[in-house]
């Protein structure tokens, strides 16, 4: 272009922010004032021009309209959230009451079953049945055992909104794989029935992760997690502590601050699991 008379500041094109901060006022004002001064009139015009009034009214209308149009009513989101939470809780309690009803009916069925078998003088079948139902988790069991309480590390509490997603300190949180290793350790230590927070582990149970929550039997659990295991009390505890599960748990406690406490008890109770519904599987005939 034209040869410049003054050497240009090499950083001139990058001084946008500086320019903005030092000369925020439209340069046209200054220019217009200078022009008016040269013409011998006062630098500033009055504030009484009708155009100014119209523009001011326009600005006011624009502000009001956009505020009205764009504002998301404060309560709406919370209302919807509460509604959803409410419906979740009500469904959950529906499920709970249905489960309780099912369990009650199941108990009745079991009672009738034993009665019928007794009438038919087939006590062997009856004991086999009860043994199998203990193994499959169809009935609640009790016996000596231990209770293991596992809780997230202190620092890993969810944030103020209780939203685990925005919470960065997930290091000290018990994960589903931790739970799996601990539970496997308990099985290896000779546990005969295990439940986590009242959810019986059966052959169809899975310990899974959904987001940040641990799911057992497809029900989300919240910490602290209480693992109840029926087995040979102190012996099982020793085996667990010296086994893989116990060592892993100790590592979690030492490295991540996960809290846990273990206590043995003469009698612990493990509830029945969800009734497994078999639709397709049937007993295979053994070849003779």
């Amino acid at each position: 272009m034209t040869s410049t008379t003054k050497p240009r500041d090499p950083a001139a094109s990058m001084s946008l922010i500086t320019e903005l901060m030092t000369h925020p006022l439209d340069p046209a004002y200054e220019a217009a004032a200078a022009r008016r001064e040269r013409a011998g009139r006062p630098r500033a015009t009055g504030l009484r021009s009708p155009m100014l009034l119209i523009v001011c009214i326009l600005v006011g209308v624009g502000l009001a309209v956009s505020a009205l149009a764009l504002r998301v009513p404060l309560g709406t989101a919370k209302q919807q959230h509460d509604q959803l939470v409410g419906s979740i809780t009500s469904r959950q309690s529906d499920i709970d009451s249905d489960t309780a009803a099912i369990n009650k009916l199941q108990k009745q069925i079991t009672g009738y079953q034993t009665q019928a078998l007794k009438h038919a003088h087939r006590a062997g079948l009856s004991t086999q049945l009860s043994r199998l139902s203990v193994l499959t988790g169809a009935v609640a069991v009790k016996g000596p055992g231990l209770k293991l309480r596992v809780d997230d590390a202190k620092a890993s509490d969810t944030d103020a909104q209780g939203n685990p997603r925005t919470d960065s300190s997930s290091e000290g949180r018990v994960t589903s794989s931790d739970m799996q290793i601990i539970v496997n350790g308990l099985w290896r230590a000779g546990a005969e029935a295990i439940s986590i927070n009242g959810q019986r582990l059966t052959a169809q149970s899975a310990i899974r992760f959904a987001g940040e929550a641990i799911l057992v039997n497809f029900r989300p659990l919240s910490p602290p997690y209480t693992i109840t295991a029926v087995g040979a009390g102190d012996d099982m505890e020793q085996k667990f502590q010296s086994g893989m599960g116990g060592i892993y748990l100790k590592g979690l406690m030492d490295d991540y601050g996960i809290r846990s406490s273990l206590s043995t008890s003469k009698s612990v109770q493990v509830p029945a699991g969800p009734a497994p519904s078999l639709t397709y599987a049937e007993v295979a005939k053994e070849k003779k």
Binding site: L20, D26, R43, M51, V59, G60, L63, S66, A69, L70
Partner: protein
């Protein structure tokens, strides 16, 4: 005084009439409002500096709003609407704040 009264009158009119904003106009509203605010704060500062000019104000207001809307429109067409909007808000916000600082100096000498 009169412009301030006009602003209040406009606010009241807007609140009372409560007109429905067509959907296609809604993306432009926030940027246009910020641009308008920038023009208004610039005008207030010019008044304090004693160099206010109604013509300059009206033109700067209109051009601000039009350019802001244009930028948003262009950004939407190019798929970078939100980024461009952010840029506009940052630039105009900076201007509003530094004009505000000048107004504050005039008013409170601080």
């Amino acid at each position: 005084m009169i412009p301030a009264l006009g602003l209040v009158a406009g606010l009241v009119i807007g609140l009372l009439l409560h007109p429905d904003v067509p959907l296609w106009l809604q993306p432009y509203l926030p940027i246009a409002v910020v641009a308008a605010l920038d023009a208004v704060f610039g005008a207030v500062r010019a008044v304090m500096d004693g160099i206010f000019n109604d013509r300059v104000f009206v033109i700067s207001f209109l051009s601000n709003v039009v350019v802001a809307a244009l930028i948003v429109f262009l950004g939407d067409q190019l798929g970078v609407g939100s980024q461009l909007s952010t840029g506009v808000v940052v630039v105009l916000g900076l201007r509003i704040f530094s004009n505000m600082a000048a107004i504050r100096r005039h008013l409170f000498h601080a």
